[in-house]
Subunit: 499 residues, 2 copies
Amino acid sequence: MPAHALFREEDIRFDVDVDPVIAALEKILPDEGLVVHEAGRRAYECDGLAAYKQLPLLVAIPETVEQIQGVLKCCHEAGVPVVTRGSGTSLSGGSLPHPQGLLLALGKFNKIIEIDAERRIARVQPGVRNLAITEAAAPHGLYYAPDPSSQIACSIGGNVGENAGGVHCLKYGLTVNNVLAVKVLTMEGELTTIGSEALDSPGLDLLALMHGSEGMLGVVVEVTLKLLPNPLTKQVLMASFNDVEQGGHAVAAIIARGIIPAGLEMMDGAAIQAAEDFVKAGYDTAAAAILICELDGSDAEVADQQKAVEACLRDHGASRIQVAQDDNERARFWAGRKAAFPAVGRISPDYYCMDGTIPRKQLAYVLKRISEISATHNLETVNVFHAGDGNLHPLILFDGNQPGQLEAAEAVGSAILQLCVEVGGTVTGEHGVGLEKINEMCVQFATAEINQFHAIKAAFDERGLLNPGKAIPTLNRCAEFGRLHVHNGELPHPELERL
Amino acid sequence: MPAHALFREEDIRFDVDVDPVIAALEKILPDEGLVVHEAGRRAYECDGLAAYKQLPLLVAIPETVEQIQGVLKCCHEAGVPVVTRGSGTSLSGGSLPHPQGLLLALGKFNKIIEIDAERRIARVQPGVRNLAITEAAAPHGLYYAPDPSSQIACSIGGNVGENAGGVHCLKYGLTVNNVLAVKVLTMEGELTTIGSEALDSPGLDLLALMHGSEGMLGVVVEVTLKLLPNPLTKQVLMASFNDVEQGGHAVAAIIARGIIPAGLEMMDGAAIQAAEDFVKAGYDTAAAAILICELDGSDAEVADQQKAVEACLRDHGASRIQVAQDDNERARFWAGRKAAFPAVGRISPDYYCMDGTIPRKQLAYVLKRISEISATHNLETVNVFHAGDGNLHPLILFDGNQPGQLEAAEAVGSAILQLCVEVGGTVTGEHGVGLEKINEMCVQFATAEINQFHAIKAAFDERGLLNPGKAIPTLNRCAEFGRLHVHNGELPHPELERL
């Protein structure tokens, strides 16, 4: 188990007398709704960040909102930490259990309560899978836009918790831009309604605050989502570049023309090769980078944008430009990108997928530095990139069975995140902080901001029982990690001198 | 001065020993930077909600961030409330002074620090006028999208505080969707940086929280904004309807086709007549409602959308459809709508502009009820409507010199806001809560949500010194107002029974 980012002493300070808690929970939960024996709890010991494992003290599997409410009230009274889990696909350890805590598994909340085509909304329980919403909306010609690559499995409650993105978030926004309202239980078990279907909600913007809060402010028990009409037309272009920097310039040029593609993805040479070997998508394996650009809208709009995008690609030295001629070819262009992660899984026993953002213009520099950092640790890194919004996913290749390689991969990952902050980016684009990147939060934020996060957390959860030890580092942790004083590429607060 | 919504006893609980505060502030502020004499303070006694007047205890006019910081530290120590003011155009009394407090006037922070055309951002001080940003960006072919009707005067700091909208927010979003980062001073005078130019910011979403927080969480001292490229083409259509309901259906049909117009505005018969009498825009004064629809984008995109919009208008019984033939005609179509408020000012000694949101399909019912409510109080109401996003602006006509008419107008306004909540809308679309709608917040929110707002407020401002008495009602106030238990058209939390 990696040591660098696990729970610290202050995160496991809870003193739980488990027997009375079990007795109380048994009265609240249905038969088989409370898992006490170790073999049963073992099934929940990790999430999508599989290198981290932690047995929970107990697992609760409620079936009604009243039962969740009862569980929370009981845990609040007894001082038991609570970690909420949907499908358990978090890549940052967001739903990794707490050793002294109850794991609240919401898998049974998988009901789509309502699809209203006229209002273009869906109202769903938190355990509903992301893709299931689009499937249910499809007969009405509607879909739910955010599409994280785990969309077949990940649940909407977790999407809210991590503010999930996906290939199409460049044009259609993150989860926060596609959710209208949530019903949330506080740690005390009180039900609150946050947001509405109206333009703007009066009062403080608790809806945005809830997004990306990683289960630390409350338990989401219902989500009302925006549905969008299916675009009339889609088109996909694929361009090859002899160097990554030119590709980066092409991306900047497309955005600068005011075109917001539905997707704009880049892969480096190693990623192209791995994907091509795996799915035979006809990718240009001679290229240093390929760019996949999806356009959507009305026929005229797409035709117009296609002309402009082709010009940008040509102007910035694309060595080859392919335009999909039909649905099959469109699917083929995407196939390699969509299979990039499993493709990398074929060429390396293990890989560690990082997630950071950078200003687009820093792309070439950052890729060069990533390659240097990896070489220092005798590892290789393959890069896929949500190019339009500057969200980089380096996949660090390693072999967990070779002593020291996991630690080396983690060191490379941490150095990459710090690099992202140095060039003016952030330590997470869409995977969240969880336990994985909690140390790097000390690099991203100054003490004042971290204190503000803690104060808000306490305003929702005074006793600190919801997902303790995640997302917001303690100042002790930062002191030990040896925080860097860098914020968005600047020294802290030079503006006081400048203004 | 209207009595129904003014400061309550608990809002004016501060015990300020003013002489030592004056002595301390004189050392911090420049010459003429501290206004103590009554005539000088008088200039700040109201904002855009002109019916409410309140002299502040002191006025501070700092010129540097260090000076603001010094003022805040001093007030924090001495327990002096602070109300921040930009241009003072708030329509809800957001910057109305506190009788025991310091008014912090940021008019001198009017510098555009940076326009970066490549990154498509502007970095500005909080006192910069909204329109000045677009003017400064224009040479680069860029503009700042949110355009509240006060854009010539209102300042960007206030836009953040109220999460300002405007005619174009249907397509381009509210202020929160167009701001990337803010620098904020806490009440203790600590400088924090919130947000970044990256896709998503790790940690809790303090940036969204700051928007619409009405100066209650901190003092914004710098704003980094997104700039957009000017659209290549614009087109404006104007349609007449013989009844409002048909117009509402046409709006729903346009949105349902997946078209997001740049603007989609409706005016009722009384508003049409007032506007036509004032600016002779050639409006159809025989119509019960007109709909003005602006489309923007590339030539092909606009042509495409125009065809679809015309079909929607025809299908829903438009009695007349006009398409602007050139720039002059486009400007003429807009002229009446843009002059609607002053036009109404010509036909009535006073008017009270309300701001609520409703589900679009409730439009006809809500207009009928507004007319009934007004008649009960012997008043008339004229309606303009951001139809695309359901944001209604009823203008209640009254004569402040006639005894009882102001109170009657306020009663009508309050009843309209409660009506908005009853049909599933909200008490504010874009003007904020301030003091004006603070009672109606008790209708919008249940106790649990109001308590959560207070807890977050306390997490930023423990002593409650920033803009006390605004935006978030005390539970005492709600008890006295006689809160209704209605949330989004539902009784509170029926879902507990339903789920």
